[in-house]
Symmetry: C2
């Protein structure tokens, strides 16, 4: 029974099953560890077709992690899902302002989502370069606005909001950004699916690669 496998054996066996069931694919050798961990987290092979990487997204992400660039997440769930010991190795801070009382107060006053104001708060610290959005389309739209209108140049955008209102559209806007501001690397997917767990899985896959390489 699987319950008797050791933890490291469970993950290795999971990856063997994913490799076998995914069959042949065209992901690069630095992309597949990311896609595979997303499938591992979600048990959803849709991601083998829907994920999109900007050119050189993975090497640039690894460079940003090794340089200790700060991570901002849109939810405390995504923050929780990122493996802390790996962050410590590179001296990376991770923050999320969505539960900040000041953010909540201003969101109520202005009638906009807390996610927008939380993203803006994270971007105001120039030590932060890696933006991880797993829930709120409004946060991804705001990040795109900061890039287009205010000159923000993230080291990496992990854009995986989920849902029925705006999620797919926000990711299409991120994909379109490549033509306008090609120097911003991103990892995203097409469609409604995504989530804090999936976004955290992308970061964890990159952290493992950064530790190995």
């Amino acid at each position: 029974m699987s319950v008797h496998l050791r933890p490291e054996e469970i993950e290795a066996e999971s990856f063997r099953i994913i490799d076998a069931e995914a069959g042949s694919h065209s992901w690069g050798p630095d992309q597949w560890p990311v896609v595979r961990r997303v499938i591992h987290t979600s048990a959803d092979f849709d991601y083998a077709r829907s994920m999109v990487f900007s050119p050189d997204a993975v090497p640039r992400a690894l460079a940003a992690l090794k340089a200790g660039r700060g991570i901002v997440t849109d939810t405390t769930m995504a923050l929780s899902g990122i493996a802390k010991p790996r962050l410590e190795r590179f001296g990376i801070s991770v923050s999320c302002f969505v539960a900040d009382p000041d953010v909540a107060r201003r969101a109520r006053e202005q009638g906009i989502t807390r996610s927008i104001l939380a993203l803006r708060a994270g971007a105001s610290d120039r030590g932060n370069g890696i933006f991880v959005i797993g829930n709120a389309p409004t946060a991804l739209f705001e990040l795109i606005r900061l890039v287009r209108e205010e000159g923000l140049r993230p080291d990496l955008v992990v854009g995986l909001p989920v849902g029925f209102v705006g999620a797919a559209e926000s990711k299409e806007a991120l994909l379109a950004l490549e033509h306008e501001v090609p120097e911003v690397p991103f990892i995203t997917n097409r469609g409604r699916k995504g989530g804090s767990n999936v976004a955290a899985a992308v970061v964890n896959a990159l952290l493992i690669m950064a530790m190995e390489g």
Copy 2:
């Protein structure tokens, strides 16, 4: 553009889309708010077919929440995803022992998953009655063992582990428990899918119903 909707309008519009696309279904009026929030969180209509409720699971879950029974989760992500203000309303504590240093040390010594020992730690406090498992099949197997062999009688099991090794099997074991110990209510699904986000969504849907009813 959706980004201009107010937060409460985004959720209402999402639910309207889910209701429309789900079409006719046979979920009870107290089950559909749970299934719908899971779909809202995952953007995955598979859950409209795969979720399973034991008889009276929802009314019994609402009674447990209103009685302030403690919640134990298998991951800090699931803990993060549960809406804290709603817990405060009922005086419910939520805990997760997976990052506990003592749990980590004993897991290494014994060569078993931290999830097993963390679940056991949570179950040892008789104030805890609601077990939320969104990640680790080993935690759900251990919970089932505690029910069968040690007389544990949870107020509710939210059993939604995800993955390729043991997740589906652990949920089949939970379903089979109904014949042996029918007094333990559960909410689960069939298959590999699940996750901390989905498990938290079930709890949040129940908390909203408890506040309304």
